[in-house]
Subunit: 279 residues, 2 copies
């Protein structure tokens, strides 16, 4: 909100400060505390003003210390769009037409690490809690990528955290898409092959009951693995990789048209872009 009390324009004074975007929308980043009744009044004036201006989507970002403004914003017809630990984003669509508000993020990224040493042993763990807590199932280390974390980095980190073993990333061998996985959202789990750079195991006590190196065939022969289709398929893909030529996807860095460096994963064996990369 404008702090100027000497403004010549009353209207301007009563309208919330907002950034415009290239889709005809406005975004308000609330930062300073405001009484909820005052906020309601200013928000109503602002909405009238933006409606006159032909604006479409109105975004209001409320940091968590302004939680008192959530209820008044909802009362003016806003809905939630997304939230992070320290803020809530609300949105309102002004036009009578159906909205083109972009969807919230929909997927969590999981990694499942197939770490094979030169004795054909795989690194496996028993988990303390969750679906496999208290069972005899030896599993590949798994985990969830953190906010902004690369798939290959997440795989290396999870193996290190759970077992203490250092690894190098080799390839994505497969991935699985699952819906209604957590809070109704979706999940993409990447099965990653990693090469161990160390062998000593120092397991994480809080989440991991036990960790060991296990003959790859013994892993696949566990009755739980054989009897559960998805585990069985993943085990077969991993064993195929360990026995013969199986081309997965590995990353190279690629500059996007907006100037960002991203990871592009593809089958390097069948398509060699290294000549391009070294130009």
């Amino acid at each position: 909100m404008s702090n100027s009390t000497s403004s010549s324009s009353l209207e301007k004074q009563l309208v919330l400060d907002a950034d415009e975007d290239s889709y005809g929308g406005v975004t308000v980043n609330m930062e300073k505390p405001m009484d909820s009744k005052v906020f309601t009044s200013v928000l109503r004036t602002s909405l009238s003003y933006w409606r006159q201006q032909g604006k479409r989507g109105v975004w209001i970002k409320l940091p968590i210390h302004l939680a008192n403004l959530v209820e008044p914003t909802v009362q003016e017809g806003f809905r939630y769009h997304h939230a992070e630990p320290d803020y809530l984003m609300l949105v309102y669509w002004i036009p009578k037409t159906s909205d083109t508000i972009p969807t919230n993020s929909s997927h969590r990224i999981g990694v499942c690490a197939f770490v094979l040493n030169d004795k054909r042993e795989v690194l496996v763990v028993k988990e303390r809690s969750g679906q496999f807590g208290g069972t005899d199932v030896w599993k590949f280390p798994t985990g969830v990528a953190e906010e902004g974390e690369d798939i290959w980095t997440a795989a290396i980190r999870e193996v290190k955290e759970e077992t203490g073993v250092d690894t190098e990333f080799v390839e994505v061998l497969a991935f699985r898409q699952s819906h209604r996985a957590f809070f109704g959202k979706s999940d993409l789990m990447f099965v990653c092959m990693l090469r161990p750079c160390s062998s000593d195991i120092r397991k994480q006590d809080s989440e991991i009951e036990a960790a060991q190196w296990m003959a790859a065939e013994d892993y696949a022969a566990q009755s739980f693995v054989r009897e559960h289709e998805q585990f069985n398929y993943v085990a077969k893909i991993c064993l195929t990789k360990s026995e013969k030529a199986y081309a997965g996807f590995s990353p190279i860095q690629a500059l996007s048209s907006s100037g960002k460096i991203n990871d592009l994963y593809f089958n390097h064996r069948d398509c060699d872009l290294s000549a391009d990369q070294n130009q």
Copy 2:
């Protein structure tokens, strides 16, 4: 909250109804309106009770019509976890140890469709708005997967919506991970090869300026494609696929250990699971 007024246990009466999970957490699904002062009092009693019980994460799901309870929940030390249009989820970690609260969904899923016909022509579009609006660049059809939508379904749907062409899914040829893409969140874009089942183009007017079939080599020869690394790499992978053996990942259905049917994408050429599937 328990509606029973004849409960013999005062403590039980004052504690919010909650579902327990296998990680030592509890989840409260608030549904009925409650005065915010009453809620604060019951929440404090509940937290004491759960602390005594050794509970860890406490989740409170507030539907948007209970926005009046957001501020009191935050005042008791909760933080936001995630939000959907109609609810806000808050979380509190009771133990003194560092939390193991799962992260919010972090990624949006994009699809980029490489549709090649038997004349070696690709289906391309000119977009009306966004980064490429008003430019001369012919692009593959692209879009964002909807909530709960499969990657292969999203690719078929986007091609149909933008161009009117019916297709069959062939393979994921590559994927790209990008961070800080929208609202600071990440993006995974899957380059999908599709086989056309029809050829007549009926373009979508709202988003698409023009659509056509174009010789694959002419697509790749566009100066924009040649000069932008990511576009250039993707074009080369697609041309490689069109000229010789390039193994991408295609999906099969696999039953998870929790009884759900998921899509598992992998290199079928190098690993044949069809015998397993037909068992």
